[in-house]
């Protein structure tokens, strides 16, 4: 009997017991849907976290020393380490202001427009980044984070471009509004601003002019980041005359790749664990299939006898019943995959709206995330379905094939 005939017979047999088939399919649907929902949600969280790290996070290196980095140190590093494509210092500052009798603490990040573009951590929703003239002159301009708009202006959707925001005694003109990922959360008493480095250096930072909290470097495409990290450490040790055995006490160079790798391995492990837990429901579904197929075999003993009398070999009977269990599983796998993604989307929407993943953001911003869709996962789900069909269908099918045709024909 060829595969087409087997499939036709299998579908006909399953259709004849529609109610029982649907219940059995439901077991597989729930199992596959659980696996798909769990893995796609965790995959989605991973993607969200990775995108929060920025566009070029995999080749980004953060560099700091126990004493503030000077502009000359950074320039030397760029020249000494050939694998560095771009390096720039960043500066952080702090200030306070009073708005409507509320005291607001303001954290300020000093960086350049180019650095913001490279990291991709700032997603402008309104306005623009700083221009070259503003950066060169240290103009009093700022990019405000959406949460900060609410903090400072009391309305999250206020039109703030061109308006002034006060930090300490100085006012700064808002040129852009960024989405959550860059600036951290805002609440009633705290907000973030991004300004050109020179602007921060003029009165918002405690560091002397020409010094930086840290430098951020991007290594060239294709370069091994860990090698670059080691080269940067060596070069810094040389320029700052740090003894080799004390490098780790004075210099820290941190690659985002390591963070990404550990994030990936963590989510992978989490995915496996939750997948395994969800897989238990698949196991239950599989046992349901075996139960149904054993009932089918018992109910169709006479049919088995007739088929054997008409020329079916033992393996024809095995294939016939195996095809039925595989058909159930593939059907359940397809429906379960669709259901799993739908459930994952539903959960993602709820989680996003409730802001439940905010704390998982790389830098504290609110998080929008979608379940990760992967053809590999879909193929895996269908593969698992077929495997379950074969695994749990084989015993009943084999049992059917081993029945004595004479006994089968005598069966009432």
């Amino acid at each position: 009997m060829n595969v087409r005939d087997l499939l036709r017979e299998a579908l006909r047999a399953l259709e004849a017991n529609r109610g029982r088939t649907l219940l059995t399919v439901l077991g597989i649907v729930i199992g596959i849907a659980a696996v798909i929902a769990m893995t796609s949600l965790i995959g989605g969280v991973q993607q969200t976290l990775l995108s929060g790290l920025g566009l070029n996070a995999a080749r980004m290196v953060q560099i700091g020393t126990s004493s503030p980095l000077r502009e000359t140190d950074i320039e030397k590093l760029g020249k000494l380490v050939g694998s560095i494509e771009f390096i720039e210092g960043t500066l952080s500052g702090f200030g306070e202001t009073n708005v409507d009798d509320r005291q607001i603490s303001i954290s300020v990040t000093g960086t350049s427009a180019h650095m913001l573009e490279m990291t991709g951590q700032v997603k402008l929703t309104e306005g623009r980044l700083f221009n070259a003239q503003e950066e060169a002159s240290g103009a009093r301009v700022a990019i405000i984070e959406r949460g900060g708009v609410k903090t400072y202006f009391s309305k999250p959707d206020a039109d703030v471009i061109g308006k002034q925001v006060k930090v300490g005694n100085e006012s700064y003109t808002i040129v852009g509004v960024a989405d959550a990922a860059s600036g951290g959360v805002g609440n009633d008493s705290y907000m973030n601003l991004i300004m050109p480095v020179k602007t921060v250096a003029r009165g918002l930072s405690w560091l002397p002019q020409g010094s930086f909290d840290q430098a951020i470097a991007f290594v060239r495409e294709g370069v091994d980041v860990e090698t670059a990290v080691s080269d940067i450490k060596g070069a810094l040790a040389k320029t700052q005359r740090v003894p080799e055995d004390e490098i780790d006490d004075y210099i820290w160079v941190y690659s985002m790749k390591a963070q990404i790798d550990s994030l990936k391995s963590f989510t992978m492990a989490f995915q496996l664990i939750t997948g395994a837990v969800a897989g238990i429901s698949l196991l239950v579904g599989g046992i349901g299939i075996m139960n149904m197929m054993l009932t089918n075999v018992t109910e169709r003993i006479r049919e088995i006898g007739v088929r054997r009398a008409l020329g079916a070999r033992g393996r024809d009977i095995t294939r016939q019943f195996l095809m039925e269990s595989i058909a159930i599983c593939v059907l359940g796998g397809i429906i379960g995959t669709v259901m799993g993604y739908l459930v994952a989307w539903g959960i993602a929407i709820v989680v996003t709206n409730m802001g439940l993943l905010q704390s998982l953001s790389a830098n504290g911003g609110s998080v929008t995330f979608a379940p990760a869709f992967s053809f590999v996962t879909v193929a895996l789900a269908v593969g698992i379905s077929v495997a379950i069909g074969v695994l749990f269908g084989f015993y009943p099918a084999r049992r059917a094939a081993r029945l004595d045709p004479v006994e089968c024909l005598r069966y009432q």
């Binding site: 009997m1 005939d5 006898g305 088929r307 009398a309 008409l310 020329g311 033992g314 024809d316 024909l409």
Partner: protein, 282 residues
């Protein structure tokens, strides 16, 4: 020694059991379709060994219509299962169209059933979720006959049984008993088998539809088909050319309408299964 199943032997219990070779009909050199010799069938049961068939020998010639008559528990179903390659004898030889079935494995026996034997059962044994046409095509699904050809052959077989064409797409549970048995006969014919084995084919039918089924067998017989009919009903058995009685696992000869059996000394060498299936032995 093969049993003599020819000649005018009084029917009934008085007839002696067959134990020897049959005397063949002189001048007939055709090879028997069925040639069984000294067959025993012993089952192991919890109560011990059950000797169901005792030294059965029987020859059936091409185109013959034979009835095996016996009461319930006589061993006729066991004999039919052996004739239909569903069971194997404990000892003895079974040659089907000259092919020694003892040499075949399970798969080869299944192939024989698919291609050389047509079964007609008392309870029809049609698959209710299938249409008439699908039921008749079913044996061909276990052969390498292409689907298009299967349908053509199924229609041909159904026509031979006289079932109206508008019933071909009906489900079998929508048919009357007589119609179902005609479908079962068509299913038995579809592979153009060497032999049709009918087990109480009229047992579940009223006399009118039973008559129609028997008429179908007569038609098939006229077309040259070999038919072995197993029944407990003497009236039904009387329709056959020749009758043998089975009682307590022993075969007794009865009257036949025409001397058409040759016995015993046929060639026992098997012919290749493929040749046999292609009708080389017919």
């Amino acid at each position: 020694m093969l049993p003599d199943i020819l000649g005018a032997v009084p029917p009934g219990p008085a007839a002696p059991p067959f134990t020897g070779a049959s005397a063949g009909a002189p001048g007939l050199n055709a090879r028997p379709v069925i040639d069984i010799r000294h067959i025993h069938r012993i089952f192991e049961t919890e109560a011990g060994l059950a000797h169901i068939l005792h030294d059965i020998s029987l020859t059936v010639m091409p185109g013959e219509f034979l009835a095996i008559v016996g009461p319930s528990g006589s061993g006729k179903s066991t004999l039919m299962n052996i004739l239909g390659c569903l069971d194997t004898p404990t000892s003895g030889t079974y040659l089907l169209e000259g092919l020694d079935l003892a040499q075949l494995d399970d798969d080869e026996l299944a192939e024989i059933r698919a291609t050389r034997i047509g079964f007609v059962f008392q309870s029809f044994n049609l698959l209710p979720r299938m249409t008439v046409l699908d039921n008749v095509m079913l044996p061909l699904a276990y052969t390498d006959v292409a689907r298009a050809d299967r349908e053509r052959r199924a229609v041909h077989a159904l026509r031979a049984t006289g079932l109206p064409v508008d019933h071909y797409d009906h489900r079998t549970n929508e048919l009357s008993g007589g119609q179902m048995q005609r479908v079962a006969i068509a299913r038995a014919l579809v592979n153009d088998p060497a032999i049709i084995l009918a087990d109480e084919p009229t047992g579940n039918l009223d006399s009118v539809t039973g008559r129609m089924v028997l008429d179908t067998f007569h038609t098939l017989k006229r077309q040259g088909k070999t038919i072995v009919l197993i029944t407990h009903d003497a009236d039904v058995a009387a329709e056959a050319d020749r009758r043998v009685t089975i009682r307590d696992g022993r075969l007794y000869r009865e009257a036949q309408s025409a001397p058409s059996v040759i016995g015993g000394n046929q060639p026992t060498a098997g012919i290749p299964i493929a040749r046999a299936m292609k009708g080389d032995a017919r």
